[in-house]
Symmetry: C2
Subunit: 432 residues, 2 copies
């Protein structure tokens, strides 16, 4: 225990924890389409530009823009349509001045064209068929057969580049498309696959060992006798681990004896990347948790207490680069504290530097909240729509009551150096 601070503010406590962690877990190669929620292990660059060819953004005619200059409803331009560029094929044709080619949305534009005239600004001269949105000139009243060349009128001029996606307009070749440490969203998978990056290096998912203690704690499937309660924390923490991209490993309920807890903790820590002890809530069990964490290796306990409510008696430690947390026994404190240290640690072990923003919103407070300066308070709250944004209404309840959190949408953060927050103020709410 090289550094011992009785109570630290949460930001400093987290920084202290992060200093003692292994930088990032080893990477593994997986299929991009299976990588939702995983974290990139290396920066990724575009092997080729996107798009790789000039693409039309409309159904219509590829043209030389200069051929359409001055065209209006009353004074249309006339062009000869010489061919159609089929979808998925190269536009191997050369447009001479006065010529055009049928193109479809997403189709390739000939090199010699520089713009697309949408079909709704054109009219085929003479008899015509329109089949499945393609226009054809009529030949002897027979079923539609493309008859090139045919003539069209153009009622609206286009500028060079209009209705055309340029090569590399989405991504330039060799551009970095994603940094390392990025949590992959659905669009990221699409962006990578568009570039042919169908497998990639991601950080291994952290395995998080969870041990419950407390002579009063029994498994949820058992009937509770007088003085007994069912294990809650193993399962709430496991759910939070899953949501953060980790893999929970439940080690069950360990008797309140130092040797038993030491053995179970040492075994779990060697098998996992992180260890969580959901301690019983009595002083004696907190002391035992400190002893156990210190016995596991170096540096052991980093701090014993965080300046927050709920959750002050949280034990934050690290052993051989792995985070080890001793959470308070009561379920609200345990979840709030795991959100504060465990969830960021899971992301950090995967190389995430900036914690995901998704979980945090701002809302107007509907009633005053008292707090003590020098302590960060987290107050469960419901969220509702208001006239100028979200409104947060505190759900007051003791931190022993799990249903306080069941009935809340999130936690209001009352900053460290505020002696409370007044109704009407904007507050940060973390979805929970």
């Amino acid at each position: 225990m090289p550094e011992f601070f009785n109570v630290l503010p949460p930001d400093e406590a987290r920084t202290l924890l992060f200093q003692h962690l292994t930088a990032v877990l080893p990477a593994e190669t997986i299929a991009t389409q299976a990588a939702l929620g995983r974290v990139t292990a290396v920066p990724l660059a575009a092997p080729h530009p996107l798009p790789q060819f000039q693409r039309s953004t409309m159904d219509g005619y590829a043209v030389r823009a200069s051929d359409t200059h001055g065209a209006t409803e009353s004074l249309p331009a006339f062009l000869q349509v010489i061919a159609e560029v089929p979808m998925g094929q190269a536009a191997n044709l050369s447009l001479q001045p006065g010529q055009a080619a049928i193109v479809h949305t997403g189709g390739m534009i000939p090199d010699t064209a520089d713009a697309v005239v949408p079909v709704e600004h054109t009219q085929v001269m003479g008899e015509q068929f329109s089949v499945n949105g393609k226009q054809y000139a009529a030949i002897d009243g027979q079923p539609p057969i493309a008859a090139f060349p045919f003539e069209i009128e153009i009622f609206k001029a286009v500028a060079a580049g209009q209705h055309v996606l340029q090569i590399g307009e989405d991504v330039a070749q060799n551009a970095e498309v994603l940094p390392a440490g990025h949590i992959l969203k659905p669009q990221d998978l699409g962006g990578l696959l568009a570039l042919g990056i169908w497998q990639l290096l991601v950080a291994r998912q952290p395995q998080v060992g969870i041990l419950a203690t407390g002579d009063e704690v029994i498994p949820p499937e058992q009937t509770a006798g007088p003085g007994q309660i069912r294990d809650i924390n193993s399962y709430t923490i496991a759910g939070m681990v899953q949501k953060a991209g980790g893999i929970p490993k439940l080690g069950g309920i360990i008797p309140d004896r130092l040797a038993a807890l030491q053995t179970a903790a040492a075994h779990m820590l060697s098998a996992c990347d992180m260890l969580v002890l959901s301690a019983g809530s009595s002083v004696s069990l907190r002391d035992m948790t400190v002893q156990v964490i210190d016995s596991l290796g170096s540096p052991g306990v980093l701090l014993h207490g965080v300046a927050t409510r709920p959750g002050k008696p949280t034990i934050v430690g690290a052993v051989n680069g792995k985070p080890v947390l001793g959470l308070p026994g009561n379920p609200v404190s345990a979840m709030v504290q795991f959100d504060m240290f465990g969830v960021p640690a899971i992301y950090r072990l995967q190389g995430v530097q900036t914690m995901p923003r998704q979980g945090v919103v701002w809302a107007r407070l509907s009633q005053n909240i008292a707090s003590e300066s020098g302590r960060e308070d987290y107050v469960p709250a419901r969220l509702e729509d208001g006239p100028d944004g979200l409104v947060a209404t505190p759900v007051f309840g003791k931190s022993n009551l799990i249903y306080t959190l069941v009935h809340a949408d999130g936690l209001i953060k009352v900053p460290l150096n505020k002696g409370g927050v007044m109704a009407g103020a904007w507050v940060e709410v973390r979805f929970f």
Copy 2:
């Protein structure tokens, strides 16, 4: 096609779709600890109160509060400690006036006690040991053995009920703890397990069939020739399906021929609870998608076009109670439209009535956005912290560019009847 509206606003379009859906998929029983993100199929009630016994919230002494009245530092009350209530056991003892019992945080309080005096407000009379936070009277200087009775001084009075959780304070017996249609969060699992509800009925996860079309579209692992692009939409949509609690079933890329698409769509629809056609983006393919959806069964296409940008040419349909969507080919439109219809439909098929709030925040707009009245616009944006909340900065980009979304944190919603939004206004942003 009993109802045909050319273009509907999104809310009306969604309502129309929901009217044609099967109410809720059949339920299945699963283990509560495996139910994260699943949706309750029936309301759940508490089989017993929580807590089931009076619990101490502190380490200290269970007392009759009246015995402590008037106690101060200078004029302490004196009580006889007659026993300890061990953790996890019944408090089978009767306190007479003037008596107290050692209790630990979370331990049971004797029926005859009505409050707990925290240990820090007490002092054991005479010599004492303190071991693992428990206080003992000394007996002949021997190792600590609990020696009852012993006497304590109490320096602070407690009121009846102080530091005690009452029976049913968290949840009363028979109270509804969760309604049907509730998406299960980590704390919900904990709350259910605390009540011994270790398995429960949840809606089956919707299977969502996804078919891509377009002669220009190739699988992501292939090299794209001139005019070809890799499939993006199958994978972005699959990721969104997963995030909403559905199971994506990828059917690959179907040739642009009516018969082939009809066969593949009919097969996929019969095997799944929902069907998504990621159409090619040309007019002819949109028309083909309409034909295919109408051929699948009744009612078929409900509407062909939604008053939004991006994504107007979206086809919304239903067949035999199953949603069938024809998405625009370009990737940004496809994702925005799937978020608008597909994601709510996945929740709805599981019985969710109120869509999850988690994804929506309010932010101040950093620059003007133009829009057309009568259309709902969704503008990709980055989010950053500002002085009074989040600041949204639009990422302008054509809806064909997937990296517009890769670089965005969410989508700004420009309401239907606004002709744009001015910088400084509060806007709704949907995380994406």
